[in-house]
């Protein structure tokens, strides 16, 4: 026990990092907001109290699928203390995070789509009064048949949950083919297919969503919203749209998030509602969701049924892969179209897949909407693929680690689906965990009940495209140098606990030779900070980082010019370190940073610079090519050790070895924390987390509480041996890639593969609960298939495939046929105009 590797956290960054040109970057640093957080000084959204503030509560639907025929709010309005009541018709403009899925209303207009869908809202002098008022609102519903899950949606196109979508209750259908997979299967020595299922799970942030709206009446006419959101820019757009306010009259302030994990990335009903209630009452209005309501906001992992077929040569080389996914999307679109593409996008970025076909479908169902949870749409296919490969390796008689090492995607290459790979450290990652875990000695050699399993993964470092189409930067930074020697950096990025504020401070400190604690960081405020798209898709370190370095370098050049004149030293000989600017040839000759800033300010006026970052255009030009491209891909390899009790089926995971290619570690302590946190979340999904519904009881969430929604405690958490692999990527700030999501992905398949090694049963479904292991063991005893998992993939009327030739077949990234969707849509849009 106790070999969990932790980097020692140093208080100061002045020491520098041996073997690198960096003084600050790469050290284990205290986060800039750590003291405030651990001493309770940080103000989260629910900590805000404004004079004369009212409290809001939402009335939610008790039915999974129903039409609203009448709402009577008159009794609620007469309750003393109630100041305003809203219904759907007060906010009739639809919204949604993706331009293609503007299918939500702040409050249901005429229809409810899941138990928990907001229907009405009350603002009152106290939360108690607001709660009591909810019971006085009479809503008349006309019930419709609920759609309980994705298979039910496939089987029942009617009644439709939405009046848009590709087919019946299928929201989105995707069919992409890169090369002729049938030919690839014909060339294979072994073709294998498998069916797997990944259950839905939710983010479970410690902080429940909260928001405060405040309104300055005309002539100001200005709305301010504080919210625990990961995407203040997108919330800003949604508020302006739904409330019909000019964007300049809306200010969104993202309060520090007590965890997000993707669950606070959509604009939400409660944000629009408190804004509208503030406008109606002229008083600030706050809402803090209950834990149960957080389960209804959801936007978590899509339950996904998957079928994968792969052809391989005797040496393990893949000849072709065909992947099908069916996602249970819940009641609304959310990020679902992107999620659907993501279940097919990243299969190609770890191992070379010369021909690839992907078919994905997302169903609308009468449950809380699914969306982006850590790993967004990719942990499910990664689980399927890595378990599938484990089975292929066994069939070929190959070591699964060797199989993977033999077919790594080369660095600086294009994949079959036109993703541009930069640095690629997966080989180094595999070697680290294989060596560290004693893989070669342990695999298939442990006593019955003990097992070891391996899996790998990759993840994007920022989505290559924004959520709404535009040609502007994805991240902007402004930087102001103070004549006292301090620097303030302004950026729209949002601190959700992942350490993005610290990244800005560290990078500015590195470039300007300061200490990170000299830097004031102002983030997530649409009035004060330039746009950053938000804390999602593992984009912040790379995108704000690059923008930040650009702004800091511009400031450095201005300051250096004037320091050079003053010191009579050529500018290129001047270095910035330890709060000084000095001659590298004669370090005693120099100025303090503050003196240099004063010189520059005297000569040029206020010293302020900007930086911005826009990813390069993606290589793929077909419809659907927007999901998957990223400036850089991180890589992870994981080995899990498990103990399986054959008498009960209970699985425990004593230890996980994980290696992660982060490109370049900016803050070693944060990197380690993100990797361990990812392992924790992956472990929960592997073993117990489950968004369970009572299909036969009104499709109600079975367990919307922290007690009964099972997530591991400290006692269930495994020891983690972490290896940080640094394979710098030219697109990353000082080479950095992501580390906040990717390391989650290999954990569930590594555990599943280890369970097989331990007791010889395949659990082709997460969570791997004792019941499933127990059943599979029983089946094995009876001589039946030693497996627990799904047994069929429903027939889905796929559209004609979009055919794109892979780069090595002479393609140019455009669709040869079937993929005219984008042009067609453009033509259609032009006609409408």
């Amino acid at each position: 026990m106790g070999t969990r590797k932790k980097a020692a956290v140093k208080e100061t960054a002045a020491v520098g990092r041996p073997g690198t040109p960096f003084r600050v970057v790469g050290n284990a640093l205290r986060k800039v907001d750590a003291t405030a957080k651990v001493t309770g000084v940080t103000k989260f959204a629910d900590d805000l109290f404004l004079p004369r503030m009212l409290y809001a509560k939402l009335l939610r639907s008790p039915h999974p699928h129903a039409r609203i025929t009448a709402i009577d709010t008159s009794r609620a309005l007469t309750l003393p203390g109630v100041k305003a009541v809203l219904t759907g018709h007060d906010l009739p403009i639809p919204f949604g995070i993706l331009p293609v899925s503007q299918d939500e209303h702040a409050l249901a207009l005429d229809k409810v789509r899941f138990v928990g869908d907001p229907v009405a809202a009350v603002a009152a002098a106290s939360e108690e009064v607001a709660t009591a008022a909810l019971d006085l609102i009479a809503v008349t519903y006309e019930l419709e048949r609920p759609i309980t899950d994705a298979e039910d949606a496939v089987a029942h196109p009617e009644p439709r949950i939405h009046d848009y979508g590709d087919l019946g209750n299928l929201h989105k259908l995707v069919n992409l083919e890169f090369g002729d997979v049938e030919q690839g299967f014909a060339e294979a020595d072994l073709v294998r297919d498998d069916l797997l299922f990944f259950e839905g799970s939710t983010h479970l942030p410690m902080e429940q969503h909260a928001a405060v709206g405040d309104w300055s009446p005309p002539p100001d006419g200005k709305l301010t919203l504080w919210s625990s959101t990961q995407t203040p820019h997108y919330v800003h757009r949604a508020l302006a749209k739904v409330l019909e306010l000019p964007p300049a009259k809306v200010r969104v302030i993202a309060t520090p998030n007590g965890g997000g994990f993707g669950g606070k990335s959509d604009p939400f009903s409660h944000e629009l509602v408190v804004a509208k209630l503030a406008m109606l009452t002229g008083r600030p209005v706050k809402i803090t969701l209950t834990r149960e309501e957080v389960f209804y906001c959801h936007r978590g992992r899509h339950p996904t049924l998957m079928w994968v077929k792969t052809g391989v040569k005797k040496d393990g080389a893949i000849t072709a892969m065909h992947f099908k996914s069916l996602l249970d999307g819940g009641g609304y679109g959310s990020y679902g179209v992107a999620s659907t593409y993501y279940t097919g996008a990243l299969q190609t970025v770890t191992y070379h897949v010369p021909r690839y076909k992907f078919q994905g479908a997302r169903a609308f169902t009468n449950k809380p909407p699914c969306g982006p949870k850590r790993g967004h749409g990719t942990p499910q296919p990664r689980f399927a693929l890595e378990v599938h490969l484990d089975k292929i390796a066994e069939q070929l008689g190959m070591d699964p680690a060797e199989l993977r090492l033999k077919q790594l995607v080369p660095p600086n290459s294009l994949t079959a689906n036109w993703l541009r790979i930069g640095s690629m450290g997966l080989g180094a990652c595999i070697r680290k965990v294989v060596q560290g875990s004693g893989w070669k000695e342990q695999f298939r050699n442990l006593p019955h009940g003990k097992g070891i399993g391996l899996a790998c993964s990759s993840y994007i470092t920022g989505a290559g495209l924004p959520v709404y189409w535009n040609a502007m930067p994805h991240s902007g930074v402004q930087l102001k140098c103070d004549r006292g020697g301090g620097v303030t950096v302004f950026c729209g990025s949002t601190e959700i606990g992942q350490g993005s504020d610290s990244i800005l401070a560290v990078l500015v400190a590195e470039v300007l030779g300061l200490d990170p604690f000299d830097i004031a960081v102002v983030t997530g405020d649409t009035d004060l900070t330039p746009v950053d798209l938000g804390s999602y898709s593992s984009r912040v370190t790379l995108m704000t980082g690059n923008a930040c370095i650009q702004a800091a370098e511009r400031a450095r050049e201005m300051i250096r010019r004037h320091a050079a004149t003053q010191l009579a030293v050529p500018a290129e000989r001047l270095a910035f370190a330890e709060r000084r600017i000095f001659d590298v040839a004669d370090p005693a000759c120099g100025l303090s940073f503050a003196e240099a800033v004063q010189l520059a300010e005297a000569a040029e006026g206020t010293i302020g610079t900007v930086g911005s970052y826009t990813p390069q255009p993606s290589a793929g030009k077909y419809r659907g090519a927007g999901v998957g491209p990223s400036p850089a891909y991180s890589y992870s390899a994981c080995v899990a050790l498990v103990d399986v009790d054959p008498a009960t089926g209970i699985v425990r995971v004593p230890r996980v070895w994980i290696a992660h290619d982060v490109g370049r570690s900016i803050n070693a302590a944060s990197v380690m924390g993100q990797i361990e946190g990812s392992v924790y979340m992956g472990l929960g999904e592997a073993l117990m987390e489950e968004m369970a519904y009572r299909g036969n009881r009104n499709v109600v969430h079975k367990i919307p509480s922290l007690l009964e929604y099972k997530s591991p405690t400290t006692l269930e958490m495994c020891d983690v041996v972490t290896y940080v692999v640094e394979d710098p990527d030219p697109n990353g700030p000082f080479g950095a890639k992501e580390c906040g999501q990717g390391p989650l992905l290999p954990v569930p398949p590594a555990v599943a593969n280890a369970v097989y090694d331990a007791v010889g049963v395949r659990i082709d479904e997460v969570p791997i609960t004792p019941e499933k292991v127990f059943k599979a063991l029983r089946r094995k005893e009876k001589g039946e298939a030693a497996r627990y998992g799904p047994d069929q993939f429903p027939d889905i009327p796929w559209p004609e495939p979009t055919r794109v030739a892979p780069p090595w077949e002479g393609g140019d990234g455009t669709a040869a046929e079937g993929g005219k969707g984008r042009q067609k849509a453009a033509a259609l849009a032009a006609r409408k105009r």
Partner: protein
């Protein structure tokens, strides 16, 4: 956030005063000790008392008397309002009743054990995942017969409620043959632990609402041994989905008497008389253990209202009874 409704909170200093307050309050009043069960239930409107009478300021309910002070004949008497954390560190308990300490330490989390009391755990409201939900959630399923509704969703044709006894300490008290002293406005009575409980999710206690569970009387530690095994998803927080309390009176290496009591499978701690019977006279051989496990397996009737799949929980009865008995045998046969 989820808020406690308004209520009147009373702090009597004596049992007499507490009983009088309850008489005055009538059905709107309830007793509370640590509150770790009641207050969350009140937030969810599962219980809606207007007057809450705290027992925590009554010195008599905090006392522990024990051992050989001549008054208790070797038995230990413990006040119901000792917290589970305190109970676990009383030296005479650790020595004489390690099984009680063990069960107490398995309850919830350290934080809740610092507030939650022995009496509170013994009177714990029965649990069901159709019932332990907020008002809004329960409204969405049209409520259940335990609160605000008419049907038992676990067994819709059932005339009674099937909420589950989820105490860790109760099965242990029953298996040990402990006694409870109940004090009411009309006097006091002492009942065997098993008689405090009824197999009905709503009326799960035979204690009258105006009675106070004052103290718990444990039999003198002599030639018996007992253990408690708990099945739950996680090592902390979770209520038992199965508890196995096993008790053996040894006559050298032969079982003179035995009792098995299951928690988490019925609305009360369920004694499996047959399992005790098949063990008596044996030396806890594997065969005897298997027979007892089988006897416990057959009547165990878990329903779909807790964590885990019910058929697996039933299967686990056998595994957990076996493990508990093996532990007792191992302790008896292992060299000291």
């Amino acid at each position: 956030m989820l808020r406690l409704p308004s209520f009147t909170y009373l702090q009597p200093k004596t049992l007499h005063e507490a009983l009088a307050m309850k008489v005055d309050a009538g059905p709107d009043g309830v007793f509370v000790s640590g509150g770790t069960d009641l207050y969350p239930n009140m937030k969810r409107r599962q219980q809606e008392p207007k007057i809450v009478i705290s027992l925590m300021g009554i010195p008599e309910l905090q006392k522990t008397e024990g051992g050989n002070d001549g008054r208790t004949e070797g038995r230990t008497v413990v006040g119901s309002c000792i917290t589970l954390s305190e109970l676990a560190i009383v030296p005479s308990f650790r020595r004489g009743y390690p099984v009680v300490v063990h069960a107490a330490e398995l309850v919830s989390t350290p934080l809740l054990r610092n507030m939650g009391t022995l009496g509170g755990n013994l009177c714990l409201d029965t649990r069901c995942n159709y019932y332990d939900q907020t008002y809004e959630w329960r409204k969405a399923i049209d409520f259940c017969m335990k609160k605000d509704g008419h049907i038992c969703w676990v067994a819709p044709s059932s005339p009674r409620c099937w909420a589950v006894s989820s105490s860790d300490v109760a099965p242990v008290m029953v298996v040990l043959g402990a006694e409870f002293r109940l004090v009411g406005p009309k006097g006091e009575r002492v009942v065997p632990a098993g008689r405090l409980y009824a197999n009905d999710g709503i009326n799960y206690l035979t204690k009258h609402a105006d009675e106070i569970l004052a103290d718990i009387r444990l039999p003198a530690p002599d030639d018996w041994d007992a253990t408690y095994h708990k099945l739950r998803r996680r090592g902390s927080f979770d209520f038992p989905v199965l508890g196995v309390a096993a008790w053996i009176r040894w006559d050298d290496r032969t079982v003179a008497d035995a009792r098995i009591v299951l928690g988490g499978v019925a609305s009360r701690p369920q004694e499996i008389v047959e399992a005790g019977r098949v063990l008596t006279g044996t030396d806890l051989s594997e065969e005897a253990i298997a027979a007892a496990a089988d006897a416990a397996y057959r009547p165990a009737k878990p329903l779909d209202n807790t964590d885990f799949d019910l058929s697996w929980r039933k299967q686990m009865t056998r595994v957990y009874v076996k493990a508990a008995l093996q532990e007792l045998r191992q302790r008896r046969t292992a060299p000291a």
